[in-house]
């Protein structure tokens, strides 16, 4: 009998440990998830994705590359009288990294933010959890960085970096930027040999709707997260089957989304009913394919930033139809590597004169390759 009770304890103990502690509800403190930023016509967001600093990274070389991307973008936006307002780091800043990488990375971005006058927002990617540091420590580092927007609340909302940036002109919110943590991976069961990629959960969708509701349903929104949801694949298949949706850039591998019935996210289908105009992500390095759905929502992967982990070499004589299609859509006719950055510029447009922005924006992809003979720099409009 005594032995039986010991055996039962093995099952009870994890249950008891898992259920200890009172967790507060996200709905009770929605205002804690929002930060404000000044808005102006021509507000710019530079998306840097999948930088992947790791044990094998030469950080001086990577910094040099990132500096070139930021300097090139600064020059590009200044030509039209603008500046880089916000940098969105859309996940996988690190993979197999340690505290030294994180501190060097933040020091670098703080220097750049001071030099160019931008703020930056950090979102978790699946690989950011994959380092020799405590996830809470890295969250604190982002919180403490002077120019960094990062909010992580200890409550019942799934994920870490879920927060919104409200772009304000006076007291009016002109745009809302939604940052979501699309997680990492999970097992189907305790005995599953493999893990599935995570997805944006229902409570995250409900949370964003509540945040958006606070500023009003008429305010246009744009979302940034790391792992593509099923919507990209659905649109890709539709386009392959002849759907006339506007689409552009390269798709040279799978989206690496969850791909299962269980992992179907309701975020995009729900959010676009509430004025979500676009969603941009990272994760799959060989893709920067962007598409507009039937309701006018623009969905796309940002250009992978920097040459870490893996990236595509685009060759003009490649017989792969996907490469040919990408080259055709971008008008590039020389070999290059699919690395760089993406830029969104909000354009003032209020056709119905209701005082709210219509949600117009420009999208450009920057391909920047370092070359001994002179760097390859190409901006391509959406």
């Amino acid at each position: 009998m005594k032995h039986k009770s010991h055996f039962a304890l093995l099952f009870m103990l994890p249950v008891a440990l898992a259920s200890c502690g009172q967790v507060k509800g996200y709905a009770d403190h929605l205002q804690d998830y929002a930060v404000d930023m000044d808005y102006r016509d021509g507000f710019t967001i530079l998306q840097l994705s999948d930088i992947h600093w790791s044990y094998n990274t030469s950080t001086p070389a990577s910094k040099r590359y990132l500096e070139k991307v930021i300097a090139e973008t600064d020059k590009h936006v200044k030509a039209t009288g603008g500046q880089i307002d916000l940098v969105e780091l859309t996940g996988d800043q690190f993979m197999l990294a340690n505290a030294y990488h994180v501190e060097s990375f933040l020091n670098f971005f703080e220097e750049q933010a001071t030099k160019y006058g931008f703020k930056y927002a950090a979102i978790w990617g699946n690989h950011d959890r994959h380092g020799l540091y405590n996830p809470n420590w890295i969250a604190d580092k982002f919180r403490q960085a002077a120019h960094c927007f990062y909010i992580e609340e200890d409550d019942d909302l799934y994920g870490r970096s879920n927060f919104v940036i409200n772009l304000k002109q006076g007291n009016d919110v002109k745009w809302q930027i939604a940052n979501l943590d699309s997680g990492a991976s999970f097992s189907e069961t305790a005995l599953s040999p493999f893990r599935d990629y995570d997805y944006i959960r229902k409570d995250q969708t409900q949370w964003w709707l509540a945040e958006h509701n606070l500023v009003g349903d008429k305010v246009p929104a744009i979302a940034y997260y790391h792992i593509p949801q099923q919507d990209n694949e659905i649109l890709w298949k539709a386009v392959q089957n002849g759907a006339p949706n506007k689409n552009k850039f390269f798709k040279l591998e799978g989206f690496a989304d969850n791909g299962t019935e269980r992992g179907v996210s309701d975020f995009i289908p729900t959010a676009k009913q509430h004025n979500l105009k676009a969603a941009f992500m990272g994760h799959a390095h060989n893709i920067d394919w962007t598409v507009e759905d039937d309701d006018g929502l623009v969905l796309g992967l940002g250009v992978k930033t920097g040459p870490e982990l893996y990236y595509a070499h685009i060759l003009t004589d490649d017989p792969d139809p996907a490469v040919k299609k990408g080259l055709e859509s971008t008008g590039i006719n020389e070999n290059f590597d699919l690395i760089g950055a993406s830029l969104v510029t909000f354009r003032h447009q209020d056709e119905d004169n209701d005082g709210f922005e219509d949600g117009a924006f420009d999208l450009e992809h920057l391909y920047l390759n370092e070359r001994a003979s002179g760097d390859f720099v190409k901006w391509v409009n959406w």
Partner: protein, 331 residues
Amino acid sequence: MKDLFNKENFLFPGFDKKQRLQSLIVFGLLAILFIFSAFTFVNMLFAFTDAAGSIVSGSIDVALKGLYRSVPLFLSFFMTFWSLLLVHAFFRNVSEKKRMRSLKKNSIAVIAFAGICILFVLIGLITGEYSSIVEGSPSPLFPLDAVLYSIVFLALGLLVLIRGRKFLEKHPYVVPSRGPIVTRARFVYCFFVAIWSLFAVYSFATFFFGLFIIDFIHGYLAFSIALLLVYLLNACFLMAWEFYYNEVKAEKKKDVLLPLAIVGLVISVAIAIFYFVALGLNLDGPSNVGFGVLPIAFAASANIATILTIATPIIVSVTALIKGAVMRKRK
């Protein structure tokens, strides 16, 4: 079960003062080198996993570039692990001649790894692979720290190679040998022990780093504790084998092995159950509590590393159980 704690079964209580001192020195050096092996192994594992990720994603050029830069990390592990083998030779060699040969062989290996590491960094500086001697990543002083580490092992290797023989002639090692390793299927035996040792090194480092990097909050407490116990158990198994079972007198092993195997099996099965129940409650636990401790598993989106780590002590226990039962039957 009382055989497990019977002092008469062990070699150490029968040692004289000199034997005890020598034995403790060897144990101490082994423990230090095991810890250094564990830390350098984690560096190597991270560099390797990153490169493997590039290879499976089709960017072999990125993998090679990364691996080339991280060669000092690999060499640092090898020079440490070979030093561990060098010290371990004191346990296993029956004859003085064999011990001397082993010392010479292993010290030359340590010198070679350390020398190549120093040369590699120098060449890297000349060719521009490293922009400076303190380029940084993965540590603020990399690759200078790898060079300094190599210099220490180079000096120790040279010391053993040049002065080791004379020193041992003057101060003979008088601790009785644990006896030669098995002669039948020796290669297979050595292979599995080496794999198990690597698992133990990984598990020890994982447990140690896990204390600092696992997120014990955010509702994953049960899973975090289970994960730590899995790795602690695996490291403890090797230590029990090395510092306990191998210290049992040859003629008493048959009395000790069966109860030891039963205790090991009960603990490892209990921890495995605890782990799977905790994982069942937090299916996203591994990726959200600090996946840094499971680099290969995460890179491959597989739970294979943990499953192997859980299975290892069970396999070892079952093997010991069978062996112990056979030994008893022969008795």
